[in-house]
Symmetry: C2
Subunit: 191 residues, 2 copies
């Protein structure tokens, strides 16, 4: 029958539903139960075990999935093109669009440093830091700050934007704008 990458259609849909539900639930409570996740995915707990034998496998898959979605978003942002400012705007928009996946991945200790060996050595980070370095080289971003620090700021603000949107503090559209404005001008008035 199908090679390993050919899902029966039903299986693929169910699998995606589980991974999506996992990100959604775990983003809000890292200690959530497998039963919680199954409920959110609207499937039976036994079905969940059918797809992911144990919790650890599910978590790794969820991390990998979130990572994949985010990497795709970053790639689509075409971070090498245009001015750094434009690129950052596209990047922020794309990242905000990944929603729960980002909240989940960013808030997971597993996401830092514990990638499956043999996997991509974090092309996401390369693309993001690449953009930042380019911006620094062009004098658009503070060249005296450490690249890692600026990267952390970017993630922190995107994260805050997603959270604030989730809580209704910010209107869904406009989150990216708000984040970019802070990145570019801080919180100051238009002095």
């Amino acid at each position: 029958m199908g090679s390993s990458s050919v899902e029966s259609g039903t299986r693929g849909r169910t699998r995606r539903a589980i991974l999506s539900a996992a990100a959604e639930v775990l983003a809000r409570d890292r200690a959530a139960t497998l039963a919680d996740i199954a409920r959110a995915a609207e499937i039976g707990r036994s079905t969940l075990h059918r797809y992911f034998p144990d919790r650890d496998v599910l978590l790794r898959a969820a991390v990998a999935d979130a990572h994949l979605v985010i990497r795709q978003a970053v790639q689509d942002a075409a971070v090498d093109e245009g001015t750094p400012s434009e690129a950052v705007r596209r990047l922020a928009t794309a990242l905000v669009g990944t929603g729960d996946r980002l909240l989940f991945l960013y808030g997971d200790p597993r996401s830092l440093g514990e990638f499956d060996p043999g996997e991509d050595p974090d092309s996401v980070d390369r693309m993001v830091t690449g953009l930042i370095k380019r911006g620094q080289a062009e004098g658009v971003f503070d060249p005296t700050a450490a690249v890692e620090w600026l990267r952390d700021i970017l993630w922190a603000l995107v994260y805050a934007g997603c959270e604030s949107a989730r809580r209704g503090v910010l209107p869904r559209p406009g989150v990216a704008d708000a984040v970019v404005r802070v990145l570019e001008n801080g919180i100051r008035g238009q002095s």
Copy 2:
């Protein structure tokens, strides 16, 4: 003997050690075990149960303690005095100084909305948002942005600063400066 608030000296010290260890451990792993916390506090697990009957009690106490420490820090920052910029600088410095407590409290779902009834209706938030409003009124902070959003940014950046310091991305002293610089100018170069 002592009224309820008079700890025997030893008891007070042990209690503080537990709460401090709890914040430290839970800041890094919310699913940490009571045994982990006891180990970090360098006490026996049974001693921990002697001070905090069950996990829930400990968690509430840890949240209350962290909240107290942070409130004290905010108060010490005398946020009503001087220019908003000066006040924000003092505030950021004070918050960064609370370290693990802030990382723990900020990263805990319990910290949002689930305060013990009859407790202070969050004077911390009142002081912080008060400062932000003052800054907006004086045109120093963007008056078109929602107060809650600016507040969230402040916390997110302070949080990021603590995290980056913990990972060695930023030098311990200078974290507050870095945070304030971003708040005031964003990440741009000195144009």
